[in-house]
């Protein structure tokens, strides 16, 4: 190899090094630069390996489902029987979208206070005698197959109520979210420096006020991220809903019935549409996938913007 290689000016020399210096760089330093560039290349490749399948999935889902979601009926009609789709009568997934929002929102309502509470307990009261048990239970719940969480909600709520219901679906999804939220909250609270807590305690605040008014706000972005990850995970789950929210081909007759009666949800409906023998339902299944994707992305981006903005003004 020629000593005066032209590669020197391009990528990696430190800002302090003027251009001419590279030509007199010893061989071992140049080897370092090469290795550095190689490693960066590997990282770019790894990032691409993660992103490309994601983009392919998004593109594939959207290109298959776009025709279904661009119709007005898709949002305003309920599904009814396959005959509707085959005969071109109005049919849609309005009731499914509504049901998904109700069930997911209620699941968040249940899981967030309990999950964040458990996270606070684990991080702020590390010496509490209940904590080892709590941690084991939390990890067990996290590792438990989602279908078992559905079964749990079935025996806890569906059987005593005598019917499938949106509430039982929400509880099953809350079981999915809970351990993720608890773990994430614990993780972010732990990295908040102790000095912040000490500052609060020095002002004479009780411990719970310190946690709520200083530690939690400082960790807000991290906590919200944990909640979002839990939400995204639960929003895509069909298994816990099969024997809890069960499904429905129609709008419920009263708003209360979305909680007390069987309701449709996007992941479960997507599955049943996909295995049906009708091309028209397959198209609607792709449409359901697009809506599910949009729901998760909108929630992610929206919450991010809100928490970022608040964070900025606080500072």
């Amino acid at each position: 190899m020629a000593v005066t290689a032209p590669a020197t000016g391009s990528a990696a020399p430190p800002a302090a090094a003027p251009r001419g210096l590279a030509t007199v760089t010893p061989e071992h330093l140049r080897r370092r630069y090469r290795r550095d560039r190689f490693m960066i290349g590997l990282l770019v490749l790894a990032t691409a390996a993660v992103l490309v399948p994601l983009l392919i999935i998004v593109w594939y889902v959207v290109s298959n489902g776009i025709s279904a979601v661009l119709t007005f009926d898709f949002y305003t009609q309920d599904l009814g029987s396959p005959a509707r789709a085959l005969q071109g009568r109005p049919t849609g997934l309005g009731h499914t979208i509504l049901g998904t929002i109700v069930v997911d929102a209620l699941a968040l309502l249940i899981a967030v206070p309990i999950g964040v509470g458990a996270g606070i307990m684990l991080s702020e009261y590390p010496d509490h005698p209940l904590n080892p048990v709590l941690r084991i239970l939390n990890d067990t719940l996290n590792g438990m197959p989602a279908i078992l969480k559905g079964l749990l909600a079935f025996s806890l709520i569906v059987k005593p109520m005598g019917t499938f219901s949106g509430i039982s679906g929400a509880v099953a999804l809350a079981f999915v979210m809970l351990p993720i939220i608890a773990r994430a909250t614990e993780g972010v609270l732990r990295i908040i420096p102790w000095s912040i807590r000490e500052a609060g305690l020095a002002l004479g605040l009780p411990r719970w006020r310190v946690v709520l008014n200083t530690v939690l706000p400082a960790a807000r972005v991290g906590v919200v991220t944990g909640i979002l990850i839990a939400f995204a995970r639960a929003a895509g789950e069909a298994a816990p809903l099969l024997f809890t929210s069960f499904g429905n081909n129609f709008f419920s007759s009263t708003p209360l019935r979305y909680l007390m009666g069987p309701v449709d949800t996007l992941p479960a409906r997507l599955y049943s549409l996909a295995i049906s023998p009708y091309k028209e339902w397959h198209a609607m299944g792709w449409g359901a996938a697009v809506i599910l994707l949009v729901l998760v992305i909108v929630t992610f981006v929206g919450t991010r913007i809100v928490t970022r903005a608040r964070h900025a003004t606080d500072l």
């Binding site: 009814g80 709008f251 007759s253 023998p277």
Partner: protein, 358 residues
């Protein structure tokens, strides 16, 4: 916009609590018919009664009916004595099987250059599914199909991998026509297959058959027609070769029936009946209040009205959707069972029948 307003209006009206939602679940095969009935019945009742039917399979239907989480179940395999005993033990008391429609199962195949209409008899189908006949060039198939050029492809048997009412009908036919099959395999919603590869659901079997030249499987007739898969004609007990059709299926069930309708109508004596057919039953409790899923008298009454409508006026929906009507004799048996249904001792079934003029 109008639909939105209509929706808002219907939600407001719904708040008057006049509306009733009925819940059922079970067999996949009759789902297109039952949901179409639900659509129609909602119109008939002016939006007052909604019937929510979820297709979760015959096994699931029986299970949820026994667990008392649905108001009615639906199955292609009637409740056997052990299941009836389980239901009684779970506090449900007597359970009825009410035929709602008929299903037929056809042999589906993928043979390049051969259209639908290949003729099979029971013995040949049993030999193929036992793994004894392994090539389409086998003289046993050739003898039934003179003049058809059969490609010398090896036979790939495709069967259901999940528990299924379709499998129950198919294997009960093979059991009746072949002592060897009866001896080695028997019939059930899932059996120990001597040969072949499994597919999940009607769609799974259809998918494998469509992708594999030389494959033979079995599907609901509706399914084969909808997906444009070639299917065979089958020789019945009287020796007639029957093209699967709605009428041929109804004819197969036109035989003496027990009063509880628990009978497999495969391989019946009916001379023009298609031999691989079976009922799809609706499952209901004699004492409707014994079912936890039914909370009020109003729900029980609306359920009875819907069932009565489904086996009478609702039958008009069947044939346009490629489902068979139930024969007149079955209607009578259904009415007799409804007449026995009670709510907290009150003869609600008889009242509903009387109000409708039966």
């Amino acid at each position: 916009m109008r639909t939105l307003l209509a929706l808002a209006a219907s939600l407001l009206i719904a708040a008057q609590a006049q509306n009733v939602e009925l819940l059922g679940a079970g067999a996949t095969f009759p789902a297109p018919l039952v949901t179409a009935m639900a659509d129609e019945y909602r119109d008939v009742t002016g939006g007052r009664v909604t019937v929510n039917y979820q297709s979760i399979g015959s096994g699931g239907g029986i299970r949820q009916f026994t667990e008392q989480t649905v108001m009615f179940g639906m199955t292609e395999a009637f409740l056997n004595d052990a299941q009836l005993a389980d239901i009684a033990a779970a506090g449900g008391g007597v359970a009825f099987n009410l035929p709602i429609t008929l299903g037929d199962v056809v042999p589906t195949y993928n043979l390049p250059g051969v259209a639908k209409g290949l003729v099979f008899d029971g013995d040949t189908l049993a030999e193929i599914f036992l793994g004894n006949v392994t090539t389409w060039a086998d003289p046993q198939i050739g003898a039934l199909n003179p003049g058809v050029r059969l490609p010398p492809l090896p036979i790939t048997v495709v069967h259901r991998s999940d528990g299924s009412g379709t499998t129950n009908i198919w294997t009960s036919f093979l059991t009746k026509v072949s002592p060897a099959w009866a001896d080695r395999v028997g019939f059930a919603t899932s059996v120990n297959w001597p040969t072949g590869i499994g597919g999940n659901g009607n769609e799974g079997v259809a998918g494998v058959v469509q992708k594999t030249p030389g494959a033979i499987g079995y599907n609901s007739l509706v399914y084969a027609v909808l997906n444009d898969i070639a299917y065979g004609y089958v020789e019945n007990k009287s020796g007639n070769v029957i093209e699967p059709s709605l009428t041929a299926t109804s004819l197969a069930a036109d035989v003496p029936l027990p009063s509880d309708t628990r009978i497999l109508v495969t391989d019946t004596e009916a001379p023009d009946g298609y031999p691989i057919a079976g009922f799809a039953w609706m499952l209901m409790y004699e004492n409707l209040d014994a079912n936890n899923a039914i909370a009020t008298r109003a729900q029980a009454e609306e359920l009875l009205k819907f069932v009565l409508w489904a086996i009478t006026d609702g039958q008009d929906l069947a044939e346009p959707l490629s489902f068979s009507r139930i024969p007149a004799a079955v209607l009578q048996l259904n009415l007799d069972m409804i007449r026995q249904m009670k709510f907290q001792g009150e003869d609600l079934g008889a009242q509903v029948l009387a109000a409708a003029g039966y």
